[in-house]
Amino acid sequence: MSGVWSFLHKLGSPRWFYRISSQWLPWLGVLAGGLLLWGVVWGLAFAPADAIQGNSFRIIYIHVPAAFVSLAGYYMMAGAGVVSLVWKIKLADVALRAGAGVGAAMTFCALVTGSIWGKPTWGTWWVWDARITSMLVLLFLYLGVLALYEAFESRETAAKACAVLSLVGTVNIPIIYKSVDWWYSLHQPATIKLTRAPSMHPDMFHPLIVTILGFYVLYVVLLLLRMRAEVLEREEKARWVEELAQGRGLAPESGG
């Protein structure tokens, strides 16, 4: 237990975070790129076409992973909000703000690919059904956090307000997830569920698992990059950032 606490405590130090993330990023970047390339080539070129939708179903290999990550990313952001409110760890504020930007990008990606998919299959770019509308609300929540952050002079007040907004917004996540079951919608119910086998042929499903994993790792990479930029901006007056800017590198902290 004490190991976990000391790890969390170190994670709260911007300098330690910057150094450790420098070590992780190349590996994570290669992993994300590899998984995405593998999954996308497999899904687009080698997986069989769908019996009913033909090749247009292949956008699923981007649409579903982006949607997955946009929902999971919201919980990450709200979790950072809890840590920020309760333990007042600065790095949690950084994660909250970075998570809003990356999450908004993922949600936008899910909405755009869904729209492109809707035209050849449903016959429309957009409808106001429960699933699509609640996803749009998610995008506005992410953008709302970003905007709210800018609305305050002090970083502490901004972080507090954003944490509360992201906590309130968590009610939207189960609504998005269950919207296709609770109400009649144009969007079909979930293909992948924890409680049963996916209603998708294994030859089509396996590349989807790979792109979903790839999107999760990509999310982590983008989040770390955004957080590092934010850390440098916040710590611009710290000596280690000055040394970094002068090209003197980042030495390990003495005494942890």
């Binding site: 409110l85 449903w122 429309t124 296709v180 144009l186 293909t191």
Partner: protein, 155 residues
């Protein structure tokens, strides 16, 4: 845990629980208005308003699609396995429109009980399979084997 932090954690829990309770109450009150379309049984039961644009959804009854000799006029029946509704439409149907499959029509309920659609959207299900598997399932079904390709209900 430090008392101050415990207090903050309680406030956080209160925010989440309060917001969830509020959302639950709102969506309970809205319930039916959250539906994207009416089912034919709801329309037969008089739940849908006449004289304004609504949506109706269900499965296209196999063999019910009738096209006019010339022009783009067509008609089909939509069912939810409880009631059926006649739909008239002039236009081009989406590629995925087919008998026995899901459809959502946007339009107006006519006094005679027919539905005049201005737009027809195809609904697809959550099952994905290669054409060969689809063929095999179809053959299995016609041969009377228990081939289940997933639940093809109204949603």
């Amino acid at each position: 845990m430090h008392p101050v932090r415990r207090q903050r954690l309680i406030i956080v829990a209160f925010i989440v629980v309060g917001a969830s309770a509020a959302a639950t109450l709102i969506f309970r009150a809205l319930s039916d208005n959250m539906n994207f379309f009416y089912a034919p049984a709801q329309i037969a039961g008089g739940e849908a308003p006449t004289g304004r644009t609504i949506r109706v959804g269900g499965l296209v009854v196999p063999g019910s699609l009738k096209r006019a000799e010339s022009g783009l006029d067509l008609a089909f029946r939509v069912t939810d396995n409880r009631a059926e509704l006649e739909v008239d439409f002039r236009g081009i149907l989406p590629d995925l429109f087919s008998e026995g499959k899901g459809v959502v029509a946007v339009g107006e309920l006519m006094p005679g009980g027919r539905f005049k659609a201005a737009e027809v959207l195809a609904k697809h299900d959550e099952n994905y399979m290669p054409p060969e598997v689809h063929e095999a399932l179809k053959k299995g079904e016609t041969a009377g084997l228990a081939a289940t390709g997933g639940d093809d209900d109204v949603r």
